[in-house]
Symmetry: C2
Subunit: 246 residues, 2 copies
């Protein structure tokens, strides 16, 4: 893979051992994954942060991350962080971007693959308290350790965009949810207010919501219907191109 610095064509065939030694001589780069874990609670979008245990950044908050083992797949590494920290198995996880600025980590050259994760906070409230972990309102996330502020912002932006074009949001809600909860979620993520009737119209027109026949309970007002998202139907009907628009 390493080639001459001029523009001459490359004619020689490289053997496996040549490549291997190249790889070994050059791999002074470490690889990590960082997870931006979003949750939705009290009608606010939250992100799960941990107190940095790194000397230069003591008492700053940082994302949950870890180095990647050589025998570990990237997704697997991210997944393991999720499992270790939240105890959750079945999480939404999406690779977002890789950050590789030369001096992003004081310990040396560490490049980090950032993942965005969406979890339903109701399933793991127990583990958080005993830890250095804390859910932060996304509106109050500032001054994270390392380049984590930048990573957070990129992932947040990606979430805002993707939630409008793909049915991700349901990962942040219970399996059965009311339309009010769904709208609150969208309003929290996009930081907007929407018209309730038009919001309903839009989702009913998509025709991906299944009426479970159940209702909310323990609400101090008229209970709403509970719905599930019909992923199967979505997969069959999802649209390809939406048209030029910028």
């Amino acid at each position: 893979m390493i080639r001459e610095m001029d523009d001459a064509p490359v004619q020689n065939v490289k053997t496996l051992s040549v490549i291997q030694s190249e790889v070994e001589s050059i791999n002074k780069i470490a690889l990590s994954v960082d997870c931006v874990i979003f949750g939705f609670d009290e009608n606010k979008l939250k992100v799960l942060l941990i107190r940095s245990d790194f000397k230069d950044y003591l008492d700053r908050w940082s994302l949950l991350g870890d180095l990647v083992n050589p025998q570990e797949d990237l997704d697997e590494a991210a997944y393991n962080i999720l499992k270790k920290r939240t105890g959750l198995n079945d999480v939404y996880l999406e690779q977002v971007q890789t950050f590789g600025a030369i001096n992003r980590h004081p310990a040396g050259r560490v490049i980090s693959v950032a993942f965005c994760s969406l979890i339903n906070v109701q399933h793991h409230k127990l583990k958080i308290l005993a830890n250095e972990l804390h859910w932060h309102d996304v509106k109050n996330v500032t001054d994270l350790a390392f380049d984590h502020q930048q990573i957070f912002e990129v992932c947040f932006g990606r979430l805002q965009k993707r939630i409008q074009e793909h049915p991700l949001g349901f990962n942040l809600l219970p399996k059965k949810f009311s339309l009010r909860e769904l709208q609150n979620l969208y309003e929290a993520i996009l930081d907007t207010k929407m018209d309730r009737r038009n919001f309903r119209k839009k989702f009913f027109a998509m025709d991906f919501l299944i009426d479970t026949g159940e209702m909310e309970t323990d609400v101090p007002h008229r209970p709403g219907k509970l719905y599930k998202f019909n992923y199967d139907k979505y997969e069959k009907k999802k649209k390809k191109w939406s048209g030029i628009d910028f």
Copy 2:
């Protein structure tokens, strides 16, 4: 960054040297970048490929890539590939995704950050011929070396999506272009036919095209006006959210 495999809170503070040794002990992972370089020629979308010089994949085509030096930024590494291969300085370059399957490379654990690049083929036709490089019609790209077929498809899909939402396409055209060229570009990338009048209406309504006052020359029919894209105006006016739609 490496933490216990159980769920206990992490209380100890790590010093720089501890981290450094962790980094060194674990960095058996090499990092590369691969560029999916698109061009537009003869009304077809093309991708620039090179004959693999790697033993296991002799005579298969592959993307242009290289290992990343420890003192080299990711974007810089991708940029250097572009410069070395095409002689171009001023290229559109966008990180797309990182590929890290354990066995994606036979020489060991190599993870690769994929970049999508758009270039104007008219500016560098000379360098290609003398090389093992070749422009392939995207419709005939099959059976690339390594996992490059997958990388190509992800980058192509990303391009198809992004060209509809962002003014990227102009990087594939000369600075001054006719509306016919622009429409041909969109039709090639999205593999569709569009109505000419509505296409014009859409772009004129955006109001980001500058009439240069010049006309096409050497065309065997009525010459069309030549336009430039007004990036400054776009930057000021670009929209944020387009609404929920999936």
